[in-house]
Amino acid sequence: MTSAIREFAEWLSHTSPSILIQTHNASVIPTIQSIHIIAIGVVLTSVLMIDLRILGWAGHDQTLRETTDRFGPWLSWALLVLLITGISMVVGEPVRALLSFSFWLKMFLVALGTLIATFLQITAKRNEQTLVNRRTVKSLAILTLLIWVGIVILGRLIAYDYVWGSWSLKPTA
């Protein structure tokens, strides 16, 4: 499994899109990274606002439906930007990303966070009255927030994968 990922990363780094990103201009990767961080700011804040409304800590003058209608589209579009810039960074620096333990843990949390956020949005639209006071939904709101906080932290830790010791696939670890 490990060697397959390593081989794939090596192969990807020699493909023309990867070489284009690597050699086109020194500012390409930092620019993509900056857009990625801006998008994660939008995602994290949108999740925060929806979760604060579910928990009853903000947006008292708004129904949950109004809050999800306000922040849901921003969340979805910013997730799309994250996906595009994220894939671009993986293609541009495949070894750095794919051999990093932080990266795979982050991807797992992204899948989980997106799943729970989608569930919360759908539930909010269907059954708002019973939803607001339900303990499980409040727990899910806190969980999603923690997951997205974890995603942001892990994103930065990709640059410091040695912190995971032998769990990192990188040769320098």
Binding site: I37, I38, I40, G41, V42, L44, T45, S46, L48, M49, L52, A58, G59, D61, Q62, R70, V149, V152, I153, L154, G155, R156, L157, A159, Y160, Y162, V163
Partner: protein, 117 residues
């Protein structure tokens, strides 16, 4: 004490040495710095979109600021604190980094602007 002396004393403080010598503290502080930065940015965007009349236009402006600005300030303090912790580990180099004075100046300008609202 001149600026070079001040930077040298900051850099040799126990706190700066502890962060610099640890394999884990700097990455952790930097990650927490990015976390704070994303929240500062995201919460300011919400307020600014309302000011521009692009989003949440049916909500009174004061409602939005009372919901949001406390998070902006908390995240701002968090980001400034973690930024300072990173700065002291290599104060002299960061001070002379071409980009740092600009970032610092921009952050202070935004802080003043927020305070004025």
């Amino acid at each position: 004490m001149d600026i070079a002396g001040f930077l040298a004393s900051v850099e040799s403080s126990n706190l700066a040495t502890a962060i610099r010598d640890s394999l884990y503290l700097f990455p952790l502080i930097e990650s927490l710095h990015v976390l704070g930065l994303t929240l500062v940015f995201g919460t300011i965007v919400i307020v600014d979109l309302r000011l521009l009349g692009i989003a949440s236009i049916q909500r009174p402006f004061t409602r939005i600021t009372s919901d949001i600005l406390k998070w902006t300030w908390a995240a701002f303090v968090w980001t400034a604190t973690t930024g300072m912790l990173m700065f002291i580990t290599n104060a002299n180099v960061y001070y002379h980094n071409f980009f740092f004075p600009n970032e610092d100046g921009a952050a202070r300008a935004c802080g003043v602007e927020r305070g004025d609202i």
